[in-house]
Amino acid sequence: MKNIRLDRRTALKGMGAIAIGLPLLEEMQVAAAEQATAPPVRAFNVFFGLGIPSPLQAEGFSDVLEPLKPLAKKLLIMRNVDQVRCDAPGINAHYDGASGAFTAEPPDGEARSGGPSIDQVVRKTHYPQGLPPGMAPTIVAGTFFRRSRVGRYVHSYNQDGSVAAAMQESPRRLFQRVFGTYQGKGDDAAVRRRELRRSVLDTVVEQYKFYTGANSPLGAASRARIADHLDRVREYEQRAYAMQGQDSQAPSAPARSELAHGGRADPGGEGIDITLEELTSEWRLLADLYALAIQLDRVRFGSLTFLAAGERIRLTGEYQYEGKTRFLFDDAAQHNATGSKGCSHEWWHQFAMKKKNEALRAHGHMKMREIAYFLQRLDDADSLEPNGKTILENSMITISTESGDGRHANVRRELSGVFHAISGANGRFKTGQILDVGAQGLDVYNTMLAAMGVAQQLGPAETPRKSVEAILA
């Protein structure tokens, strides 16, 4: 991996005691005060795309789920979670399933969820007056390349179904979100517009880069002129969006990502070529930063996405696990196809119990490895809290996905066995088990919320409730 692991110790050492940024100092004082008594209430949603077909979930840790095994004692793995109620006929199976993750609701249009996500419901209950000063109310981040329809990759939603925070899709942006000054208690309109304008500027930079690059139609003199322009745009970007309040000794911001982001990341659903090295390096840096933000008590709620619902990538590279080569990814060549038909997504379309499903298994395994990477970051020495448990153990961390099958032939089959896993939430939920819950996602989530001391219940009021006692500790 290319990335240098960023951890809490490194960050604090780099910051020093004197020159520490004011917002960070404040937040850490608050955090320290709180931690003296009990771990704070936290809830995070971790999403991965394309799902794990139910039959493969049934294999336990012997194959696809193997990377979660080291964390098995701190997770409750739930099979047979039924999200069929999230199906919205005529929209998109991937989108429906993804929208249902953490909300148990079908989507409400292409950019809204049908209801709030569980992390936000917990936040509202436990922090009705807002988070402590200097703390981000919610951070939403992810490494993904499928952008049409927000529900594919955003997994924190407000009460009204709108997204809970702007997506941070590059490590550099997430870094700035974590280490920069945070103005005000909430995402006010000005801050939001500013962030969106920054995305506009990113787009502008991309275009100027194109005209200075190898495929530019311009001659040498014109390319030089455009390069000049690009330099000025970057200067403008630095001035207009310079981080405020960051200590000069804080860890250096990650370099600009070389991976496609924004529109370039999703050429109309046709998919992009990417190596395993590129994918995991970017993701792990993002995961490190998100974990660091939690460790520094910069954030207590939010979501993290590793590959969007219906993700389309053509992955290449040798996949090793525990020092052994497990698979050689080369989606396009293995499909003997280009464009969308050459993407890993097609392995899910082709899933069949009678087949070996080697490529799908390898992709699924790799995803679990990367999800485990993030979870482990919340379970290491830097994540130990005063109660002797780690952040992973103390928080409500929910892992889910979009589908339990992938062949789009049968909604029930596709959405009736969606993989879920939760952490213990400081002893509220069972861990160390693989459980066939056989319940609706709505009931699972409502049971979780109740255990978290939340009175609000998801779903329509008239819907019969059924507590899923089996998941409670």
């Binding site: 249009g109 292409e110 950019a111 939403v140 952008r147 049409s148 329809r149 927000v150 990759y153 955003v154 407000n158 709108s162 997204v163 925070a165 702007a166 997506m167 939001r192 962030e195 969106l196 304008r197 995305s199 506009v200 500027l201 787009t203 502008v204 991309e206 275009q207 100027y208 194109f210 005209y211 495929n215 530019s216 139609p217 311009l218 001659g219 040498a220 003199a221 014109s222 002129r225 455009i226 000049d228 322009h229 000025r232 745009v233 200067e235 403008y236 001035r239 207009a240 982001h261 924004g262 529109g263 370039r264 990341a265 999703d266 050429p267 109309g268 659903g269 280009t338 464009g339």
Partner: protein, 901 residues
């Protein structure tokens, strides 16, 4: 000029055009009659010598193979367009060559050695293509389809392929609506393919209408939707097989041609009538440029212009030696012949520079320059230019480089107004840095630099512009939906972007802008907000801020693409972006033919924007903005009212509008038209009796002292308070006569010499001209201002100056470039001389052309400018005729390209 044109004409032939490069160029060297025996079912009239009508269609041709060579492994591209795309016979044993035919046997493949860039680039831009073949399939069983002509990588990735599927022709074309394999394809009817010679044409226009013709008759028509913007740039051209060699075709080729446009049915018929042998002269036999001429024009003439012509021009003619013309140079001067062809050592020219005697009081020639001069003299002193235009050569270095053009402030304002209907003039003028003049104009591309201020302003203005837009209503022009899904947003972005960014968006651009909308959606934004931020991004895009054109190719001039031409026309004629009609014409491929373009130009010249643009030219040419800062010495000119400066500006612009647009008179009449426009204040200043309360037109037929631009205050004030003969003379020399003169020597005291009793400005000038150190240059320009002496520094007319000295307006002048001195008795006579001067008319041609192109003109442009001048004069010499000639010329219709790395 004949010799001068040789190089350029040769290039024009190579590039397939004349003045109007985009139209078919009739060829004079017709080929012999077609060999009917070689093409069995071709019409019998092929046996007779082709008439003009038989000549093949040349417009839009990209590659042409006639298989004339019967030996070797190379099939030559004889299109004469751009860099030849020659083909290599991969397995010579699998083909049989005879003159005019190439038979492909099992497994043969003929392919280009490198990607077919000129075809791919052209079709990506045009969205249209024609593949024409004369061929004979070996059988009706080949399937696969067997690849006859293909532009592809392998069995599943292609841009286009003409193939044989048993007894049908089949064409696969990759577009944004078909697969990467070009499917669905278009097929000719069953049994339309026979094992006999046939003329097969596949043609597809930008709108998607695809047709197949066999032997001149259309056999199928089908729509192949989508754009060709997704064509791969990497594919090679292949004949007789797939590039992966697994889809062989068996048969014989007689001719293959590829066009970057669709052919109309008459054109298909014309090519069918022409038969398989060429009716055009192959590029390979185009007249070669003489190396000696080339050497003179590119090496020697610039050297003489740089080092010698300051003193040895027709005007200065020191030592009676004029080195600007062949005849006078060979004739020599006071010291005898300067040039002895073939003998450098005996040439006074070489002797004097070799000894550093010359240039006098100027830096000596470098060793390399001396060697170059020696070589030229020793080689016979070939002289191919009628006159060495020092002004053109002076710009040579400056003009080097093909700069894309940033929109000027006025163009930015006009573009915003047209694109989104917002008037942003006030804000843009307030926060955008002004464009700085260079080479006489503020739209000179190399000087349209950018700084942080620009970036801040563009970002700020983008927000302000979008704030003024009813985003929902604007978006409703492109979509009826408000969904933020791909299905809705991508077409919206593509269509909206095409309008705002002045041409279709490529897929990667759609994806980039789509990213903005998804980010907005991911932040909880709605459709309107998504469109808003997409608009902000578009307004800061390089495609909005700059006029992006393809500049890469093979190093030769290429015809500009349709949308590029639409933008060129609109920015040149209107100073703003193309309107819907122009974009529609580009969409329909209706900017290829001369008549179509001329129709657009006529329409555009009727538009008020054309008048506005011409006024911008006048303001730039005469630097009228200078008047805003005019501050004459109040003690010396107590009657000066600073409002006069604006009156003078208005006078000149209204005068121009009257002459050029209302009366449609030749532009040269600007020098002596007997009318003007004045406010009562200005009329009084000029000694005219005010005729109205406001601005009014004044007939000057009875006012001999005034009439024409040079008698207007806006121009006369260039001489400053002292009414400097130097400043006025230089203005006339450089801006009216397009002459040149060297800069004064470093350290020279240029403080104006004041007049005094007994010493007028003319007297001061006469002293300078008589001075040995100054006169060589000053004689070139100060006499040009003698006729203006009666106008003081602020343009008022006097018979005597402030000291009571009597003033004169008679004199003699020599036009730059030659001729004897011409005398005049009054200022009015001077104006008439100038108005009648071809030099002035040509100078106006150069000035307007420079402003139109946004770059200084160089010697390589001279032959085209000569054509523009002559065409414009033929059509009346008006502004409209000049603009028409400019935009129809190769300077606008073609773009210079840089070789692909």
């Amino acid at each position: 000029m004949k010799n001068t044109c040789t190089l350029l004409l040769a290039m024009a032939v190579v590039a397939g055009g004349g003045l109007i490069c985009r139209a078919a160029a009739p060829q004079s060297n017709k080929q012999p009659a077609n060999d009917n025996a070689a093409v069995g079912n071709a019409p019998a009239q092929h046996d007779v010598a082709p008439t003009q009508d038989d000549v093949r269609v040349q417009s839009g041709l990209l590659a042409l193979y006639d298989f004339q060579d019967s030996t070797g492994n190379v099939v030559r591209d004889r299109s004469g367009v751009g860099e030849p795309l020659d083909l290599q016979i991969v397995a010579p044993a699998k083909v049989r060559r005879t003159p005019g035919a190439l038979e492909v046997r099992a497994g043969g493949l003929i392919r280009s050695r490198k990607p077919a860039a000129k075809i791919i680039n052209a079709v990506r831009r045009s969205g249209a293509i024609t593949i024409e073949t004369w061929l004979r399939p070996a059988n009706t069983k080949t399937k696969g389809p067997g690849r006859i002509v293909t532009l592809s990588a392998n069995g599943s990735e292609r841009n286009v392929t003409l193939g044989q599927e048993r007894n049908q022709y089949d064409v696969r074309l990759r577009t944004t609506s078909t697969s990467t394999n070009g499917i669905p394809s278009v097929s000719s009817p069953k049994k339309s393919l026979a094992a006999k010679r046939a003329h097969v044409v596949y043609t597809r226009d930008r709108t998607g209408r695809a047709r197949i013709y066999i032997d001149g008759k259309q056999v199928v028509e089908k729509t192949v939707a989508g754009a060709t913007l997704n064509w791969s740039r990497a594919y090679h051209l292949g004949l007789g097989n797939e590039l992966s060699q697994d889809r062989p075709w068996l048969g014989t080729f007689y001719l293959v041609a590829v066009y970057g446009r669709d052919l109309r049915s008459q054109e298909v018929a014309r090519n069918f009538q022409a038969g398989p042998k060429l009716g055009v002269r192959p590029a390979s036999v185009a007249k070669a440029v003489s190396p000696a001429h080339q050497f003179f024009e590119t090496q020697v003439a610039p050297l003489l212009a740089k080092h010698c012509l300051e003193c040895h021009s027709t005007t200065a003619k020191k030592g009676e030696l004029d080195l600007s013309r062949k005849e006078s140079a060979l004739a020599g001067g006071e010291s005898g012949p300067a040039i002895v062809p073939g003998k450098a050592e005996e040439s006074l020219l070489f002797q004097s520079v070799d000894s550093d005697e010359m240039p006098l009081d100027r830096p000596a020639l470098s060793g390399q320059e001396k060697a170059l001069l020696r070589r030229w003299l020793d080689d016979g002193a070939d002289w191919s230019l009628p006159v060495i235009d020092a002004a053109a050569f002076k710009r040579r270095r400056v003009a080097k480089g093909n700069w894309l053009r940033r929109l000027t402030v006025s163009e930015y304002i006009a573009t915003v107004r047209s694109a989104v209907g917002v008037d942003i003039a006030k804000e843009a003028l307030a926060i955008l840095p002004p464009d700085i003049r260079a080479d006489g104009f503020s739209n000179t591309a190399y000087n349209l630099t950018v700084d942080l201020e620009h970036i801040e302003a563009y970002a700020d203005l983008a927000q302000r512009i979008v704030d003024k837009i009813d985003v929902s209503a604007f978006a409703a022009k492109y979509t009826s939906s408000k969904k933020i899904t791909d299905k809705n947003m991508r077409p919206l972005i593509a269509n909206m972007g095409k309008w705002i960014l002045r041409g279709p968006l490529e897929e990667h651009e759609v994806a980039t802008f789509r990213g903005v909308s998804t980010t907005v959606a991911a932040a909880g934004g709605n459709f309107e907000e998504a469109v808003r931020f997409v608009l902000e991004a578009m307004l800061q895009s390089p495609r909005f801020i700059y006029r992006i054109e393809n500049q890469r190719g093979d190093g030769l001039p290429w015809p500009v693409g349709d949308y590029e031409l639409a933008s060129r026309l609109s920015y040149i004629l209107w100073g703003g972006p193309p309107d819907e009609q122009l974009i529609k014409a580009a969409d329909a491929g209706r900017l290829y033919e001369q008549k179509d373009v001329e129709k657009q130009v006529r329409r555009m010249l009727q538009d008020p924007r054309a008048v506005e643009r011409s006024m911008q030219f006048m303001a730039e040419w005469l630097d009228l903005n200078r008047l805003q800062h005019l501050a004459p010495n109040a003690a010396r000119f107590p009657s000066w009212d600073k409002r006069l400066a604006e009156d003078m500006r208005t006078e000149t612009l209204e005068f121009f509008k009257d002459v050029a647009w209302k009366q449609k008179r030749p532009l040269a009449d600007l020098l002596n038209a007997q009318l003007t426009y004045a406010t009562p204040r200005l009329a009084k200043h000029y000694g005219l009796k005010p005729q109205a309360a406001g601005l009014a037109r004044y007939d000057l037929h009875d006012t001999p002292s005034r009439g024409g631009l040079l008698t207007q205050g806006s121009v006369l004030t260039v001489g400053g308070d002292e009414a400097s003969m130097v400043a006025r003379g230089l203005f006339i020399l450089k801006d009216i006569l397009r002459g040149s003169v060297a800069d004064p020597p470093p350290g020279l005291d240029t403080t104006p010499v004041p007049t005094s009793p007994g010493l007028t400005q003319r007297g001061i000038a006469a002293e300078r001209i008589a001075n040995g150190s100054c006169g060589g240059c000053h004689i070139k320009f100060e006499p040009l201002a003698f006729g203006l002496e009666k106008f003081d520094g602020i343009g008022a007319f006097h018979e005597r100056d402030e000291h009571g000295n009597k003033l004169r307006d008679d004199g003699k002048m020599v036009f730059p470039g030659g001729g004897a001195a011409v005398g005049y008795q009054t200022s009015a006579e001077l104006m008439n001389l100038l108005a009648a001067s071809e030099q002035v008319q040509k100078s106006l041609t150069w000035k307007v052309t420079q402003f139109s192109l946004g770059r200084p003109l160089i010697e390589a442009d001279a032959p085209i400018l000569e054509k523009i001048y002559r065409q414009a004069q033929e059509d009346g010499g008006t502004y409209a005729s000049l603009m028409t000639a400019i935009v129809m010329s190769d300077l606008v219709q073609k773009t210079s390209t840089e070789k692909e790395p």
